[in-house]
């Protein structure tokens, strides 16, 4: 999956309700993949302001300071997708955002955490938490940021690419492990 295609404006959508945009920060892990690129997410159910608030919600749930907004935008894209499929979801998201209030995105982290804690049991918060966990760590931006190398079959596995390259502990005697296959 290429993050840029995922983030690409879905031009065929004529019913866009809003737009979430950003610039890839210099020096971020995404910049390695897409130096200097702008990104945009077309919204089909949420407004730009709602999406911007949700992005801050996702950042408060999983605060990785140096992880680019583009990764969080993927979460919002998924939330928007869910909201566009189902009126109840859309309403739940809308009401959740509204209850956070206009000051939420600009408030300090401690206050944002307090606000979210108060609604921790709500369907809105729980679905935002789940979506953030599901989407934020499942894309190439996150893979690069966390150093996860992912699928390796196409490269011959990790057998000759570091599965046993740890050197800060003693090697395991052969009797308790096994020789590399020839």
């Amino acid at each position: 999956m290429d993050p840029l295609t995922t983030l690409h404006r879905r031009e065929f959508l004529k019913t866009s309700t809003g737009l979430l945009t950003g610039l890839v920060a210099a020096g971020s892990s995404l910049a390695l993949l897409a130096p200097g690129r702008a990104w945009a997410v077309d919204l089909t159910a949420l407004s730009s302001a709602e999406a911007a608030t949700l992005l801050v919600v996702a950042r408060t749930i999983a605060p990785h300071d140096k992880l680019d907004d583009a990764a969080y935008a993927l979460v919002i894209q998924a939330v928007d997708g869910d909201a566009s499929k189902d009126d109840k979801t859309r309403q739940m998201i809308r009401e959740g955002v509204a209850s956070l209030g206009a000051g939420f995105p600009g408030s300090p982290e401690s206050e944002r955490v307090e606000a979210l804690k108060k609604m921790e049991a709500s369907g809105f918060f729980q679905s935002m938490r789940l979506k953030t966990l599901q989407v934020l760590y499942s894309n190439p931006i996150a893979y690069a940021y966390f150093g996860y190398e992912g699928e390796a079959f196409s490269k011959g596995g990790y057998l000759f690419r570091g599965f046993n390259d740890l050197r800060w502990l003693p090697e395991v005697p052969l009797a308790d492990s096994g020789a590399l296959p020839a």
Partner: protein, 522 residues
């Protein structure tokens, strides 16, 4: 591949093509017995396995509606997903991690060994260890288990180096890369493990044993197997004589079909197997099939399975390498002085990045949660695999309120943890934490109990018909031509991962079935 007529009364119908059903299909067909193998899932292959974790999960997992209740943590942490197993040709052997230890002799005598443990429904197995051992030997050859029969062990991964060093600091002696049904060398027409670490997404090397590309093709090669994928058994029917004679199923087009049967073997994994027996209630058997003892679905066990993670100063890259290739066996003994009966294994584990926050970590969010994920490279992992206690009330039932997509009552999985389960888990987490602490881990923390992966004992073998559902061959006490052919038949779970035992029991059952059929008894 055979085509068996729906009206053919001579075939054995097996439900489920996983560890139990897939192996049984091969064993019967190679003895010339025609088999219809019904499998609810689709058929994938090493070529079609997705290497995107989320996609692989969707591709392979049994995601039908289920409910759950009871005090176990899974009910709280994983609503709607009490168990994690497959719906696909090859069953859960497509995404298992292939650790294949044996049970210990005393684990087969659980009741005698542990004595009276209040609040449990412990029994002894109706078969002896020496009897089972013969079939362990056969099963280990069949699966190519490492460190048995001269098969070399797997090499040590980074994650295992951490486990090994910690275990040695604690004085553990029996620590190695495991008895694994994973080829350390090419064997049986399949390649060797290239340590890609995607065991749970389906092994694209075919290095890991799965009935999908071992037993099922071998059975097909006999010309006696009729494998019907995307075919969901809905109910087992019987005649006036009380013997089963047909299986009603929905085919891939959603059409209802009725396959006549000489014999029916149920191998749908420990939740669907008792569910199908319960769904097959009739005027003659109002409590469901083989349930005159009221034991179908009861005594459900899933083993104590849970993570302990350690964060280190330096990278571990735990995702590189065979997921569960490492074990400490020193805690597999029974000594009530530890505060519990039964034993546990400490096994190696890693989770890919997308799965880690969803399944591996305790509930959380915010700075603390994120700070753990920031250290993903430096995390090493361990898994408890311990014996849990059977209880009559821990059971699979039909939920009258909730229906699946076919309109049938969903399975409800109820588990109240026994104090013994909690004491065992606490001890295990303590020992595992000490292993990492001895190496100077920066932070050590347990993960949640994961959705049940080892569903067992829910239609168990018992010497006394009133204590269980089947005799020592997996033949139901009530109906001679109805067999249980998966982990549901285990009398108690023990502390070994169950699949080698399932395969051994099924190899033994296949001999019995073919002898009994030849003698005209069934």
């Amino acid at each position: 591949m055979a085509r068996i007529d729906l009206h053919d009364e001579g075939a054995v119908v097996i439900i489920g093509s996983g560890a139990g059903g897939g192996t049984l299909a091969h064993e019967l067909t190679r003895r010339g017995i025609p088999v219809v193998l019904l499998e609810a899932g689709k058929r994938q292959s090493t070529a079609t396995f997705s290497q995107v974790p989320g996609e692989a999960f969707q591709q392979l997992t049994w995601l039908d509606t289920r409910t759950q209740s009871g005090s176990w943590g899974v009910a709280r942490d994983f609503p709607g997903l009490p168990s994690w197993h497959c719906k696909t040709a090859g069953g859960t052997t497509v995404h298992w991690t292939a650790s294949t230890p044996r049970l210990e002799p005393w684990e087969l005598r659980a009741k005698s060994t542990y004595g009276h443990v209040p609040g449990t429904s412990l029994i002894d197995w109706p078969i002896s260890y020496p009897e089972l051992k013969n079939y362990y030997l056969l099963a280990e050859r069949r699966l190519g288990v490492t460190r048995r029969n001269g098969v070399p062990g797997l090499p040590a991964s980074n994650n295992f180096k951490v486990m090994y060093a910690g275990a040695k600091k604690l004085g553990y002696k029996r620590v190695h890369t495991g008895h694994m049904a994973i080829n350390s060398r090419s064997r049986d027409g399949r390649g060797f493990c290239i340590q890609q670490g995607f065991c749970v997404q389906g092994c694209k090397m075919g290095a890991k044993w799965s009935t999908l590309y071992t037993e099922i093709p071998s059975a097909e090669a006999t010309g006696k197997l009729d494998l019907r994928i995307e075919c969901r058994a809905m109910r087992i029917e019987h005649g006036a004589n009380g013997r089963v004679n047909a299986v009603v199923y929905r085919d891939s087009q959603g059409q209802e079909q009725r396959q006549k049967a000489r014999l029916v073997c149920v191998a749908g994994n420990g939740i669907e197997t008792p569910r199908l027996l319960l769904l097959s209630e009739s005027a003659k058997f109002p409590q469901g099939l083989a349930n005159s003892s009221d034991q179908v679905g009861r005594n459900y066990c899933h083993q104590i399975v849970g993570y302990v993670w350690g964060i280190f100063d330096q990278p571990v890259y735990s995702w590189r390498g065979a997921t569960v290739a490492g074990v400490v066996e020193d805690e597999v003994f029974n000594d009530p002085k530890r505060g519990f009966v039964g034993g546990y294994r400490i096994e190696l584990v890693a989770l890919d990045l997308p799965t880690m926050p969803q399944v591996g970590l305790p509930y959380g969010w915010g700075r603390d949660f994120a700070s753990i994920m920031e250290e993903y490279r430096n995390i090493a992992g361990l898994l408890i695999n311990g014996e849990d206690m059977p209880r009559a009330e821990n059971r699979i039932t039909l939920n009258p309120e909730v229906k699946d997509a076919f309109g049938l009552p969903a399975a409800n999985v109820h588990v109240d943890e026994h104090p013994n389960d909690q004491a065992l888990r606490k001890h295990a987490q303590g020992q595992m934490s000490k292993m990492y602490a001895a190496l100077g881990a920066k932070r050590i923390f347990p993960g949640p109990s994961l959705p049940a992966t080892h569903n067992t004992c829910s239609a168990r073998m018992s010497a006394e018909p009133r204590d269980g559902v089947t005799n020592g061959w997996g033949q139901t006490h009530d109906i001679p031509n109805l067999f249980i052919s998966d982990g549901s038949m285990m009398s108690t779970p023990g502390s070994a991962n169950p699949t080698l035992t399932i395969v051994a029991l099924v190899l033994r059952q296949a001999e019995y079935i073919s002898r009994q059929m030849a003698a005209g008894k069934i």
